[in-house]
């Protein structure tokens, strides 16, 4: 008997199969995922998503008997009061017999197939075909991560980076330059000396044997001393690979969420805005390693707040939209220089503004904001309570002001949202990749 510990083996052998399955069910999944995004809050998607898809494409058919036909006999345990010949009314919704196969989970194909998508799989499907507009940004901020690059050679370093080729080449050059005798040369001298001493040979030039022996001894002595003095490999030969940590540009983004929290925005409208912001945040997170979010709310004054306050705290007051734009410019200049960050602005409002302020907004947008940001989405939240009877949206003050700018600046986009199910289509619409039809 052997015991094999397999725990260290990679699990997830079925990830490939799982991917195949998802590929196969993709069109159905896409619909299920989009439906679910319409129905629920985006926050839930951070963990993964249970989806139910119709079983057609992924059903595995087999020849199977129709259980409602013919005559079947089944044996069951636990009889209490039955006697032979008793009749039992047929239970509703199913056959009574024990049936052949137990628990045929595979046979439930038509009922829809429920399983859990991981967060990544889910978001992949949600954001499929969407791309960030104007993703490439000038120079991007660099400090945070650095990556090692080869950068020549250095005389010192850890053994693991020793460059053998370079080190030995230098050793060879040095040995040659300093005339270190090769072991063969020494061996030759030794052999000649030994034969002379043994009387096997005599010097060819007619000199005396002793003279030659003395000469050889001296040569040998020199050679040995030289070999001892000139090492085969000297520390000065060693060369190490040099790695240089070079800063990697990190794409960073900051997302400004601007929302009107004046009295005219009720909770439902804020909820709609929130969902839109969350979706945008999720989307940006997939494209940038670092996404910072700045929440700016405004009534007649604007202030930067944390997320909770932004969505939950109530405030009443008038509406001066330009105050939020000014605050955004201030924060941008203070913390997010546009040449280091990708700037995204999402503004949600019901479109009300005090008279005369719209002109200021237009000015701020065209002169300052739009040239510096990647993209700005203005989402106008229509009141759901609305006016019963006639639902023709009145052109709001802000819309009227923004619409002409949007014509000139591709970086600005305007959309209206009236109910939760509008959000995702609007979102897709805003970020649809060029050339991909819906």
């Amino acid at each position: 008997m052997h015991i094999v510990d397999r725990r260290q083996n990679p699990s997830g052998r079925n990830l490939g199969n799982r991917q195949r399955f998802i590929d196969r069910a993709r069109s159905r999944l896409r619909k299920a995922v989009r439906d679910s995004i319409l129905e629920r809050s985006i926050e839930d998607t951070s963990s993964g998503e249970r989806v139910v898809i119709p079983g057609d494409d992924i059903h595995e058919p087999e020849f199977r008997r129709d259980e409602s036909t013919g005559r079947r006999v089944g044996v069951l345990p636990g009889n209490r009061e039955f006697r032979e010949g008793d009749t039992i009314p047929r239970p509703r919704g199913g056959a009574g017999g024990a049936g052949g196969r137990e628990g045929s989970a595979e046979g439930e194909g038509e009922d829809g197939f429920a399983f859990v998508l991981t967060r990544d799989e889910f978001l992949d499907l949600v954001f499929e075909d969407l791309a960030l507009p104007d993703l490439v940004k000038k120079k991007l901020k660099a400090e945070q991560s650095s990556k090692p690059y080869r950068a020549g050679f250095t005389p010192s370093g850890p053994p693991s980076r020793l460059n053998l080729m370079r080190s030995l080449r230098r050793s060879m050059v040095r040995r040659a330059a300093l005339g270190r005798p090769r072991p063969e040369a020494v061996a030759e001298l030794e052999a000649e000396l030994a034969r002379l001493e043994a009387g096997e040979i005599v010097p060819a030039d007619g000199r005396s044997r002793e003279a030659r022996i003395a000469e050889l001894r001296e040569a040998l002595d020199r050679a040995r001393r030289k070999r001892a003095a000139v090492p085969w490999l000297d520390p000065m030969d060693l060369r190490f690979n040099r790695l240089e940590r070079r800063p990697e540009p990190v794409a960073r983004a900051v997302m400004f969420c601007l929302m009107d929290v004046s009295a005219s925005m009720d909770d439902e409208m804020k909820g709609l805005a929130k969902r839109f912001f969350l979706l945008l945040h999720l989307f940006l997170e997939r494209h940038y390693e670092h996404v910072e979010v700045v929440f700016i709310r405004h009534t007649q004054r604007a202030e930067e707040v944390d997320e909770r306050t932004f969505f939950e705290d109530r405030q009443t007051g008038g509406t001066v939209v330009s105050s939020a734009l000014r605050e955004m410019i201030r924060i941008r200049d203070a913390r997010f220089p546009p040449d280091e960050y990708n700037l995204y602005v999402a503004q949600a409002s019901d479109g009300d503004d005090v008279p005369g302020d719209v002109e200021t907004c237009i000015e701020l947008l065209t002169d300052d904001i739009l040239p510096s940001v990647q993209y700005m989405a203005y989402v106008e939240i229509l009141s759901q309570r609305g006016q019963p009877g006639f639902a023709i949206p009145r052109e709001s003050d802000l819309w009227q002001g923004y619409a002409p700018i949007a014509q000139m600046h591709p970086a600005l986009a305007l959309r209206r949202i009236a109910q939760p199910r509008d959000i995702f289509p609007v979102f897709r619409d805003l970020f649809r990749r060029e050339g991909v039809a819906e």
Binding site: D5, S11, N17, P77, T87, A98
Partner: protein
């Protein structure tokens, strides 16, 4: 492969933790001499695993005369266990989306807590692979080893159905070949093309077995030889142009060609996959090989279908007997024994038909009960037993009798042979007839003198593989004219096929056959034609 899971055997994490606590608090209290104990702590280690396995094997081989394949215990994590039984429990498997589907489903059930993981999976190979989960306590590991590594393993090695249908030595080789071949095909022909064939073949999985004849014995070497031969054939066919341009004698039209062809094709043929592999006119060699792989898989799983009850009964009886014997020798502590009994009683729970948890007869429970009953008949027979089982009643050799039964029978014949009146009474079995024509269900037999035989027959029929799978045959294949493939379903007891499913499967069959496929349903007795399906679309 066999697995047990669900509420029957598997434990929740909390249940296990509780068991651990109980066991650890008990161990010091009882003060048993721990020198002889195989393990005295709930946590397992490789050393205790090895020691326990050896002790269990000693009991199994020495006292019970069991003879399992050599075992390889593989410790896996729960994630890996989940992986394993999504791919039908095989250690190596070709890639296919349906395994991903099964995996996604299992994962959800597991994560949502509807279902627990199997405690073990054992693969019918030589040496047998037995996966055990790292989260199990040592008592559970011991149970698993006695159950799977000994019980199932002995059954795999000695049961006739397994011996006849599967080749334990080459299982892993064949699986590796399957995986490599499918992946090569995907590279060469693209995933959709491969999936199309596999999907269709999977739809016919239960019709890829030679029920009448003996099972195939696949040999990877022969497989490769066959592949080479097919490649050669293909090259020959490629010379067709050359052959056709060379003048040759015109073949004289042969008399009775159609009848001869029919004979040559071996019609009627119940093994649809085999038929398509051999005779589908448009398939390429690699597609035929894919069909053969699926057919091999079907054959491999067939014994498991036919012996579920016995296999589980055998394994459950073995783990119970072995644990008892180890307990008697003082090698298992009180805590561990209690944990084992708790586990065991969950395995053999059989809710009655009208309780909420009823999900059919539990093969573990019924199998175990029948094994114990056989032991009882051998050792303490009653007069009734002597009348019913004259061969074995009171023979005094219960284990030998069991071993013979495990070797010679399959579920259907086993029930027919060994289900005793006493067990029928104990279980209060009754048979119920569901006739679509009748307004209500009718009780056909209960546990009384008139009923015993009928219940035995009804239960045996229920386990008959022929009764489980609709009998569908190829009755005709026109290779010259319109090339229609004719299938025929012999309808037993008026039970016709689910029409929606038929249409779906026929679409798959048509993809393989390449031309129209007709299926006729006809009553098995009278031959009256009931329904006809045609799949003609392109």
């Amino acid at each position: 492969m066999s697995e047990k899971r669900g509420r029957k055997t598997a434990r929740t994490a909390t249940g296990k933790a509780a068991a651990k606590r109980a066991a650890s608090s008990k161990a010091p209290a009882t003060g048993t001499a721990t020198g002889d104990l195989l393990f005295d702590r709930p946590a397992w280690s490789f050393e205790t695993l090895a020691r326990t396995h050896d002790a269990i094997e000693e009991v199994a081989r020495g006292e019970l005369g069991l003879d399992p394949y050599p075992t390889r215990l593989e410790v896996v994590s729960s994630e890996q266990m989940l992986d394993a039984y999504a791919a039908t429990g095989m250690p190596v498997m070709y890639p296919h989306w349906s395994f991903g589907k099964r995996f996604a489903r299992q994962e959800m059930l597991y994560r949502k807590g509807f279902q627990q993981l199997a405690l073990e999976i054992v693969i019918n190979s030589n040496p047998s692979l037995c996966y055990i989960m790292e989260d199990n306590t040592m008592a559970a590991q011991a149970t698993v080893i006695a159950h799977a590594a000994i019980g199932h393993n002995h059954f795999f090695r000695h049961n006739n159905v397994f011996r006849e249908w599967t080749e334990a030595d080459s299982v892993l080789d064949e699986l590796r070949h399957a995986r490599r071949f499918v992946m090569e095909c995907e590279e060469r022909h693209g995933r959709p093309a491969v999936e199309k064939v596999l999907d269709a073949a999977h739809a016919l999985l239960s019709h890829g077995v030679d029920r009448a004849g003996r099972g195939e014995r696949p040999d990877p070497v022969a497989t490769r030889a066959r592949l080479a031969e097919r490649a050669r054939q293909q090259r020959l066919e490629a010379q067709d142009l050359w052959l056709r341009t060379v003048p040759s004698r015109a073949e004289p039209p042969e008399e009775g060609t159609a009848a001869a062809e029919r004979r040559a094709m071996g019609l009627p043929e119940e093994n649809l996959l085999l038929f398509l592999e051999n005779h589908a006119p448009l398939l390429d060699a690699w597609q035929r090989e894919l069909l053969r792989i699926v057919r091999w898989l079907a054959t491999y799983f067939e014994p498991q279908r036919q012996t579920k009850l016995m296999n589980e009964g055998c394994a459950t009886w073995c783990h119970f007997e072995i644990m008892q014997r180890l307990r008697d020798r003082g090698r298992i502590g009180d805590g561990a024994m209690l944990e084992f009994l708790d586990l065991h009683s969950m395995v053999v729970a059989q809710p009655s038909f009208d309780s909420q948890g009823y999900g059919g007869l539990n093969p573990y429970a019924l199998g175990f009960a029948m094994m114990r009953d056989i032991v009882r008949v051998c050792t303490e027979p009653t007069e009734e037993d002597a009348a019913w089982f004259p061969d074995i009643a009171g023979n005094g050799r219960p284990v030998e009798t069991l071993r013979r039964a495990w070797a010679d029978f399959r579920d259907e014949s086993f029930v027919r042979q060994y289900l005793s009146p006493r067990l029928i009474r104990e279980w209060r079995l009754f048979s119920l007839c569901d006739d679509a024509a009748a307004p209500a269900l009718r009780v056909e037999a209960i546990h009384d003198d008139e009923g015993y035989r009928r219940i035995v027959r009804a239960l045996a029929d229920q386990y008959d593989p022929a009764a489980q799978t609709p009998a569908i045959e190829v009755t005709g294949a026109d290779l010259r004219g319109e090339r229609v493939l004719h299938l025929r379903h012999s309808v037993q007891d008026g039970r016709v096929l689910d029409p929606l499913e038929v249409r779906r499967v026929l679409r798959h069959v048509q993809r393989l056959w390449g031309y129209a496929v007709h299926l006729t349903e006809a009553d098995a007795g009278s031959g009256t034609e009931l329904t006809a399906y045609r799949s003609d679309g392109a």
